[in-house]
């Protein structure tokens, strides 16, 4: 049965829009394969002339191979995405209703993506293989690294994290660098001489890396169970008096949970790496910028979600200003949550920790307001990759712009930062009014 089902899925994706779907599928796939052969030849030619520096550590090569493969797989999944999105909503429902085993359902849904990813990856991997071989990476380690890259790349591309490509890439990079540190430390201790040791280390890495891929899904499932127990009836508004209720309501959406896990993972990897390596943070200026950027981008997501998701509790809210109050509160709580690894660093770091902490708090306060403002202007939604990317760029630009302002925003007691913050919130309010947000479900009387 699986063969027939998978074939149907392939025709559904590649034969779409044609009155002769099967012929169209063969024609389109053959055309793509032809194009990729040309890409493969060009890539091979370019990479053949490229030489890596001699005597690179094997751990370095191993992690570079994982990263490169991840990048190729994620980019190919991204390229495959437009073909997958169109008119697929009823098909995903169809797959839920039809009595299939879980793996059949998964395979049927992802089959076209896997074909595209396979074709694209297959056209460029041999070139990288030759490069890695020339640089001295043993074949078993290359196979292991490539497999890890493919699995983690696919995991990131096909599961919940897939909604945020740039975050997926960021978190995978940060994660792999973290693993590289483990690998390097372990390799330096044990030595590179034994292939068996390297294989052992590779397997340990696999045991760490692969579960990560499924983590967001697992946590989401557990969370769903918790929500089921707490959300009891229609009149949830009675519960809306609790302070973080709007944030709790937003957390029911997988999109926000994914953003949270990813942002926290990036922060945690950085914090762990800094603590582990004992890197001095000084006044923490670079970390403050990273934290602010991460928080601002995450907040744009929260703001975007607020535009598209009306939790049942929203019926208790009266008017735009009341909603804004709740939203700002939720945004600050959420920003604090995202910044936790950085706050930990600020509290536990060396001599300049006071200055680091104050600077962090002020920047975070501004980043939250900035993220809310940018999210209000742009409203990035799930699967809106360009919107999310643009929101990210605007956050970066906004934070860099803040640094150029004459006000000393990192100085405690300076009113400039407070003024900016209030200005941002007022602008959000004006935008909400202007956009006619009265269409929302909160009561206006």
């Amino acid at each position: 049965m699986t063969g027939g089902l998978l074939g149907a899925m392939v025709f559904n994706t590649f034969g779409r829009g044609s009155n002769r779907p099967k012929q169209a599928t063969v024609r389109r796939l053959a055309g793509l394969a032809g194009l990729l052969i040309i890409v493969a030849l060009v890539t091979f030619r370019v990479i053949s002339s490229f030489e890596l520096p001699p005597n690179l550590p094997i751990g370095w090569l191993f992690c570079l191979t994982i990263l490169t493969t991840q990048l190729i797989v994620i980019v190919s999944t991204l390229l495959a995405r437009p073909a997958m999105i169109t008119a697929k909503s009823s098909l995903s429902d169809w797959l839920i209703v039809v009595p299939l085993l879980a793996h059949q359902r998964w395979l049927a849904w992802h089959m076209p993506t896997l074909i595209l990813v396979g074709l694209i990856t297959g056209s460029v991997i041999p070139s990288f293989m030759s490069l890695a071989m020339r640089a001295g990476l043993p074949i078993p380690l290359f196979v292991l690294a490539t497999s890890l890259g493919v699995i983690s790349g696919l995991g990131a591309g096909t599961y919940a994290i897939a909604g945020k490509w740039w975050l997926s890439l960021g978190v995978l990079t940060a994660y792999t660098i973290g693993l590289w540190q483990i690998f390097e430390k372990a390799s330096l201790t044990i030595g590179y001489d034994s292939l068996q040791t390297q294989m052992y280390l590779g397997i340990v890495l696999a045991l760490i890396l692969v579960p990560y891929i499924w983590l967001s899904r697992m946590v989401a499932t557990i969370h769903q169970g918790l929500v089921s127990r707490t959300l009891k009836n229609r009149y949830q508004s009675r519960r809306a008096s609790g302070l973080p209720w709007l944030l709790t309501a937003f957390f029911r959406k997988a999109a926000l949970r994914t953003t949270t896990y990813t942002s926290l993972a990036i922060g945690a990897v950085l914090a762990i790496a800094i603590k582990w390596q004992g890197i001095p943070v000084g006044d923490g200026a670079p970390l403050v910028w990273v934290a602010s950027l991460l928080v601002a981008i995450s907040i744009t997501d929260l703001r975007g979600l607020a535009e598209t998701h009306n939790p049942p509790e929203i019926v208790a809210i009266r008017g735009t200003s009341a909603y804004l109050q709740q939203l700002v509160l939720a945004a600050y709580l959420y920003g604090t949550l995202i910044a936790l690894p950085f706050i930990y660093l600020a509290v536990t770091s060396g001599a300049s920790k006071g200055q680091f902490f104050v600077s962090l708090v002020i920047h975070l306060a501004l980043a939250v307001a900035l993220g809310t403002l940018i999210g209000s202007i742009l409203v990035p939604t799930r699967r809106d990759i360009s919107g999310q990317f643009l929101a990210g760029l605007l956050c970066l630009g906004g934070l860099l712009g803040l640094a150029k302002l004459p006000v000393q925003i990192s100085q405690p007691g300076d009113t400039g930062s407070l003024l900016l913050l209030v200005t941002f919130v007022v602008m959000v309010f004006v935008i909400m009014i202007e956009k006619g947000r009265n269409n929302y479900s909160w009561r206006s009387n």
Partner: protein
């Protein structure tokens, strides 16, 4: 009319038991069903104004809506667990969505694929299911088996969905506005098929705006309004009390509007 009566497989006596079901498809709308039990052989028609939750309930029972709380059991087994393949193979679902199939296949290929899926899930013979699909096709006056589904008319697409939804003789049949797009002959045929399915022992839940059709077909009626279950009774008792389902509907609507005013 050949409706597969001869090959009918008696359904196992079942009860679809809905308890404290709460479904939130998005926005502020929440469907709440405190208690609803439908027994084998019964045809339950869902009535209610637009946006009352008929389709949401059908979709929730099909496993397509996230359940906020509550449970749905079929003879003690969790009906909503989409991974219980054998249990889920007892579902026949006919939605009001003409994209509900793989349009790149021909009707024959699609029905063959579905027959294989159901045969695997129910561990039964595929040819029996295919034969049944032919009988249903005959009953519904459907002949375009070799035509790609995307080129079929709206009504013929609906017929394929009906065949695919009933060919495996499910124990629970969920239909949403099944009459939409069908010609009068096919509507009569579908009505007859559903009656035969009920006699076989299937549980049938149908959402429809046509109250006269519901009155003619249903053994039980549920009236929904703004996501709440307002009335649940047998058709006979409702007719005895209100004269017709339409009268009940209009009375309830008036009361509801009066209460709001």
């Amino acid at each position: 009319m050949a409706t597969g009566k001869g090959n009918a497989v008696k359904a196992v006596l079942n009860t679809l038991d809905v308890r404290d079901l709460s479904v939130s498809p998005g926005g502020e709308f929440v469907l709440s069903i405190p208690k609803l039990a439908i027994k084998s052989g019964h045809i339950l028609c869902l009535a209610g104004p637009n946006g009352s939750g008929k389709t949401t309930l059908i979709e929730a029972l099909a496993g397509l809506q996230g359940i906020v709380s509550g449970s749905v059991n079929l003879s003690g087994k969790n009906w909503l667990d989409t991974n219980l393949r054998h249990t889920r193979a007892q579902l026949g679902y006919i939605p009001d969505d003409e994209r509900w199939f793989i349009p790149e296949l021909t009707a024959h290929e699609y029905l063959k694929l579905m027959a294989q899926v159901y045969a695997d899930a129910k561990s039964c013979d595929k040819s029996t299911i295919i034969n049944r699909s032919r009988e249903l096709g005959q009953a519904l006056y459907f002949k375009q088996f070799d035509q790609p589904l995307l080129t079929l008319s709206h009504g013929n697409k609906k017929k394929v969905q009906i065949i695919a939804g009933l060919m495996h003789q499910p124990d629970v049949i969920l239909v949403d506005e099944i009459r939409n797009g069908l010609d009068p002959l096919a509507i009569i045929a579908v009505e007859e098929i559903l009656r035969i399915e009920a006699k076989r022992g299937a549980i049938i839940i149908a959402a429809s705006h046509d109250l006269w059709w519901s009155q003619r077909l249903a053994t039980d009626i549920v009236l929904l309004m703004e996501g709440r279950l307002i009335v649940q009774a047998t058709t006979k008792s409702l007719i005895a009390k209100h004269g017709s389902i339409e009268s009940l509907f209009l009375e309830t609507m008036k009361q509801s509007l009066g209460a709001k005013a």
